[in-house]
């Protein structure tokens, strides 16, 4: 496997705010790489430095072993977290506009087909729904036949059905051997789409690995969750308090259940599940809702 992009000791500060604080990782060609972190972790700042939109305060971004330059812009597809589209022109006109900006653009029909844009092709950009808009923005991102595509929270604000449809689009792009760099707040999404996941917070990298290895390393066995009903003094092996719940990570479910029975806790509301990325995320960053 070849490394397609690499960042080394990347830093960005806005005045006294250290948005990105010495980040290093590399991305293998052809994979889907997920960059996760709570609000304000520095994901957008990182991705925009990798795109060449923001100048790093310190550190290096390289594409296929070379520092990124203007030529690089012809080979990347970008979807920003927030973008306005030119007003008063239709989806088709916007696609045509962007096609004219690249040396070897994808054909209009292909873009329309991949992103299912045929229903909205003659609609004014301003009259698109959130999901239609995201499909259209993805369409713009795939126009250049990109070698790597950056998607910053592409599914935020979509309904569950639209999100699943979007996943299919991303899988299709992956199938073309395009490398994908994705940020998201949905752990389920990261688990389904990503081959490799980096979790960051406060501008620093916390973990980086495949989703399976990450889960293996942090959790063994199952996660048992039960309302503690005020019994905060209760001590059980592998148990931690989390809000109104007692959470027990265990690799010996039989013993844990016996312990619980003998503790006389009310078993109403008990749940047992295999830990997923969501749990890992919470464990690593402490919160998903910090802003």
């Amino acid at each position: 496997m070849n490394t397609i992009m690499q960042i080394e000791n990347l830093k960005k500060n806005y005045g006294s705010v250290q948005a990105v604080d010495g980040l290093s990782f590399s991305i293998e060609e052809g994979i889907c790489f997920g960059l996760l972190g709570p609000n304000g972790a520095g994901k957008t700042t990182t991705i925009e430095m990798m795109e060449g939109i923001l100048a790093p305060s310190e550190g290096q971004v390289s594409f296929r072993g070379k520092k990124i330059d203007n030529h690089f812009k012809k080979k990347v597809g970008i979807q920003f977290q927030n973008t306005a589209l030119p007003e008063f022109i239709t989806v088709k006109e916007t696609l045509e506009l962007f096609r004219s900006l690249y040396p070897d653009p994808r054909s209009l029909d292909e873009v329309i087909e991949i992103c299912s844009l045929s229903d909205i092709i003659d609609r004014d950009n301003r009259k698109l729904s959130g999901g239609q808009r995201q499909r259209m923005l993805l369409g713009l991102a795939i126009i250049p036949h990109p070698e790597i595509i950056f998607l910053d929270e592409p599914t935020t604000g979509l309904d569950p059905q639209a999100r699943r449809n979007f996943w299919e689009l991303i899988k299709r792009i992956k199938a073309e051997k395009t490398t994908v760099l994705l940020t998201t707040h949905y752990m389920e999404e990261a688990e389904i789409l990503c081959d490799q996941i980096a979790i960051m917070d406060h501008g620093k990298l916390l973990e980086i690995d495949t989703p399976e290895t990450l889960l293996e390393n942090h959790f063994d066995g199952a996660l048992v969750k039960i309302p503690h009903g005020g019994r905060t003094d209760l001590k059980l092996d592998g148990g931690v308090l989390s809000g109104d719940f007692l959470e027990i990570t265990t690799n010996n479910l039989d013993r844990t259940m016996r312990d619980l029975l003998s503790s006389q806790l009310n078993l109403e509301g008990l749940s047992i599940k295999k830990p997923n990325m969501e749990d890992l995320f919470l464990k690593l960053t402490g919160s998903s809702l910090r802003s």
Partner: protein, 331 residues
């Protein structure tokens, strides 16, 4: 080139489809011109103004005593008095020193005055001169069109690019292989074509029923308009270079367009204002356009007469472009 034309097309469509702005750009100047032409078309048809040069000793009890005739005595330079007749400010001159009377062949009152005075003026020579009437609206129209050009250039380039910067369109462009130079030039070309066409359209449209006096060449007028648009667009670009807030941009633009509107002589002549004001007004491109356009339209000035205006507008364009290219940032 393909990039360039696509960008020009997108920007032009944005303007044409934005119905509000589109009609405002066309309608606003038309309404102003037509409105002013009515407001100032003082009805002096019932009254004939006759200029008297020298002492009226011979025409006692003549047609000059009629109620409909107003006598104005002049003892200034006869050439100036003739100029007044040529511009229809008076209808007839009786020169007792030269024993002649003068009429303007293009004035509607000439026939009436000639027959009224036929018997009384037997001993006088008739001299006929010709010249179209200069109305306030003839004088005003370059001002209004210039003002409209100014607004359209400043807001259409300056303000719109600030908005693009704020809402992320510029950032999206930065992420493509398009260079800032290509992008900005495309914006300028689109706006240039729009402003030139609307100006010509407004002029031609109002001309249909107001019949402006144009003594000089139309080609020269158009060239002057082109130079003016270039300088105004470049001025707008200075505002577009860095600002990120639409409010700040529009505030600053108003801060400079309003004085320009007042001190560039759109509505009233700067002649007779204090010298310092006249000199200060020279820093505005609009002043030079209006000056040049009036000279061509009213005085029939030729290229060499308005060369100074061309040079100043060209110089301003280069200066403004330099300033904005030094300061420009995508973000």
């Amino acid at each position: 080139m393909k990039k360039f034309t696509a960008l020009v097309y997108a920007r032009t469509m944005e303007f044409v489809r934005d119905k509000g702005t589109f009609f405002w750009n066309l309608l606003f100047p038309v309404v102003l011109v037509v409105g002013f032409s009515f407001a100032f078309s003082g009805n002096d048809e019932t009254m004939f103004k006759v200029g008297i040069v020298g002492n009226n000793t011979q025409l006692e009890d003549s047609f000059l005593d009629l109620k409909a005739i107003e006598l104005i005595e002049y003892d200034e330079n006869p050439a100036l008095v003739l100029e007044k007749l040529r511009r229809h400010q008076i209808d007839m001159i009786i020169d007792f020193k030269k024993q002649s009377y003068y009429l303007n062949s293009e004035s509607s009152s000439t026939e009436v005055l000639r027959s009224l005075g036929r018997s009384d003026l037997q001993n006088f020579n008739e001299q006929e001169i010709s010249g179209e009437a200069i109305r306030y609206v003839d004088w005003l129209v370059p001002g209004i069109i210039g003002m409209n050009m100014l607004f359209s250039c400043m807001f259409g380039v300056g303000f719109v690019i600030v908005r693009y910067r704020k809402n992320g369109v510029l950032k999206r462009m930065k992420a493509t292989p398009v260079s800032p130079f290509t992008f900005i030039t495309a914006q300028m070309v689109s706006r240039f074509v729009i402003v030139l066409l609307t100006s010509i359209l407004v002029f031609a449209g109002t001309n249909l029923f107001l019949h402006f006096v144009v003594n000089g060449s139309y080609l020269l007028l158009i060239l002057l308009t082109i130079m003016a648009i270039l300088s105004m667009i470049s001025l707008g670009l200075i505002f577009a270079a860095r600002l990120k807030s639409e409010e700040l941009a529009s505030g600053l633009m108003n801060l400079i367009t309003f004085p320009m509107m007042i001190f560039s002589g759109v509505f009233f002549s700067l002649e007779g204002t204090p010298g310092i004001m006249q000199n200060a007004s020279k820093i505005f491109p609009l002043t030079h356009f209006i000056e040049g356009a009036r000279a061509v339209m009213i005085d029939g000035a030729g290229f060499t007469d308005v060369l100074p205006q061309f040079l100043v507008l060209g110089g301003m364009t280069v200066l403004f472009l330099l300033i904005s290219s030094v300061f420009f940032r995508w973000e």
